[in-house]
């Protein structure tokens, strides 16, 4: 009798599992949370605010990021160790994984969803893969100078027209790789963009590519709509020669905020958010903040900008009200707030708190905490809705 019950139970379990696998569902409100120290990620249901399952074996994810296939089913995860892993959000499993370089820093997916590009520190350059198979498509060594040294590449983004744009950290150059004609890409190079460009972004309309400079006060901007694009300096000398404060972590530009008609971006070596007019690219204000800002991310409606900070002030999040440019809310999730991601319409925000091993979900209107999810040393949070946005 006992064994019969057991057999029935097993049968029932198997049946349930089958049912679950066959359950029809969309992936538009799924996402992933990187667990940076364990080479794993968790697939999350953003609407239900819960984890669906853990995927392991992704290598060194200590500075990992991800992009999504146009159908929002697959995440392409870029690890620190050169690993490029294609993860199926529906089955929470690895579809394909290649270790394509020795040391990497993020990637991008082309506008048609066919190409995945990875930015590499070692060997410096960009490698491009078929998004179906992860088979290599192109290798673009970032060689510069008379000796052809290889530069680390940063700020790799997709641009409309099957293009990728990236920046050479050591060389101070910006390159466009155009894959629109098929075959080998056509490379356009812009030299002398400024000292130590550390990260870059492309605006949501795919028009402006902007690289932040660590070696000088300012940013380099490329207007991709221009007939003959050229690099122009932005916010030149915004520090006005004042001594910089130590920067214990590099700011990120990817999440930088276009809020209404203003950009808000983290200053380097200053505890300030710089406010820039989106038409003229002139500075129109500054917001003093708690520490060296890392991410300044606009809520999708542009009404608020949420900011987190570098070590040792990384336990705090501040919320800036864009119309008044005032800080309207501050709270301390605890050390170390590494990343934040808004729901596509901005009603909630997910925040990773590394040292307490959890992700917290907040209502962005009431600032009430809605949920806490246990995660192991969580860092990047990426929602599948990114699939529909240029540059993410």
């Amino acid at each position: 009798m006992k064994s019969l019950t057991a057999a029935l139970a097993i049968l029932l379990l198997g049946f349930c599992a089958e049912l679950q696998a066959a359950e029809l569902r969309g992936t538009g409100d799924l996402g992933i949370v990187i667990e940076r120290a364990s080479g794993s990620l968790q697939v999350i249901d953003v609407t239900q605010r819960r984890a669906l399952g853990r995927v392991q074996g992704l290598g060194d994810l200590s500075h990992a990021s991800a992009v999504f296939s146009p159908d929002q089913r697959y995440a392409f995860v870029f690890g620190r160790d050169g690993g490029l892993t294609k993860v199926d959000l529906l089955t929470q499993s690895i579809v394909k994984r290649v270790v394509q370089a020795g040391n990497s820093i993020g990637g991008a997916i082309s506008d048609d969803g066919r190409l995945v590009a990875v930015s590499n520190y070692e060997p410096g350059g960009v490698r491009v893969f078929d998004s179906d198979t992860l088979a290599p498509v192109a290798d673009i060594p970032a060689s510069y100078g008379a000796k052809g040294a290889l530069s680390k590449t940063v700020g790799l983004v997709d641009a409309p027209g099957r293009r990728f744009v990236f920046t050479l950290y050591d060389a101070g150059e910006i390159w466009i790789a155009d894959f629109s004609r098929g075959g080998d890409p056509v490379i356009t190079k812009f030299e002398d963009v400024g000292a130590l460009p550390y990260d870059a972004l492309i605006t949501g309309d795919g028009r402006h590519y902007i690289a932040g400079l660590f070696g000088e006060d300012g940013l380099a901007r490329l207007d991709l709509w221009a007939a003959a694009p050229k690099v122009e300096r932005l916010l030149d000398g915004y520090g006005r020669g004042e001594e910089k404060l130590p920067v214990y972590k590099m700011p990120h530009l990817e999440g930088w905020a276009l809020a209404g008609k203003r950009f808000m971006l983290p200053a380097v070596g200053r505890h300030e958010i710089l406010v820039v007019d989106a038409d003229t690219f002139q500075e129109v204000g500054r917001v003093p903040v708690h520490g060296q800002p890392i991410f300044a991310v606009a809520r999708p409606d542009g009404r608020q900008v949420w900011v987190n900070f570098a070590h040792p002030l990384n336990d705090t999040v501040q919320v800036i009200d864009v119309p008044s440019q005032k800080i309207v809310h501050e709270f301390k999730p605890g050390p170390t707030v590494l990343h934040l991601e808004f729901t596509p319409r901005g009603h909630e925000v997910w925040i990773s708190v590394r040292d307490s091993d959890k992700v917290e979900v907040y209502d962005t209107r009431t600032f009430e905490k809605l949920a806490e999810l246990p995660m192991a040393k969580p860092s990047g949070i990426f929602f599948a809705a990114r699939a529909q946005r240029i540059g993410l």
Partner: protein, 118 residues
């Protein structure tokens, strides 16, 4: 890492006697690097997680150079500690003085060179 937590007071001389760091024992730097076991654990975490944001969590390098023993073989403990405390002007390496004491910087430098932070 737990091995070192139990260490209690860590003194340069102890390492030399330990036979763990013969080359450093000859180094000119005889400053004492004392940190408590608890602090040693916190420093190890700091190096992996926070230094790791530029140098890689596994210290194999990123925007910053690798910090594994091979990569630091040419530098004395005192020189590495100096870089930690003062930073490298003109690069993103910030000065950690104010956040770390001299003893802590020396402890980190030694731990890095001996490959004890992994």
């Amino acid at each position: 890492m737990l091995r070192h937590v139990g260490f209690g007071l860590i003194i340069l001389g102890v390492f030399a006697l330990n036979g763990k760091a013969p080359s450093e024992a000859r180094a000119a730097d005889t400053r004492v690097a004392e940190v408590s076991g608890e602090r040693a654990a916190a420093l190890t975490y700091l190096v992996r997680q926070d230094c790791g944001s530029c140098h890689g969590m596994t210290l194999r390098g990123g925007l910053g150079r690798p910090l594994l023993p091979d990569a630091l073989a040419g530098a004395e403990v005192g020189a590495v500690a100096e870089v930690i405390l003062e930073g490298i002007p003109g690069t993103p390496m910030p000065p950690w003085r104010g956040l770390l004491s001299e003893a802590e910087a020396l402890w980190i430098a030694r731990a890095l060179k001996e490959g004890r932070i992994e």
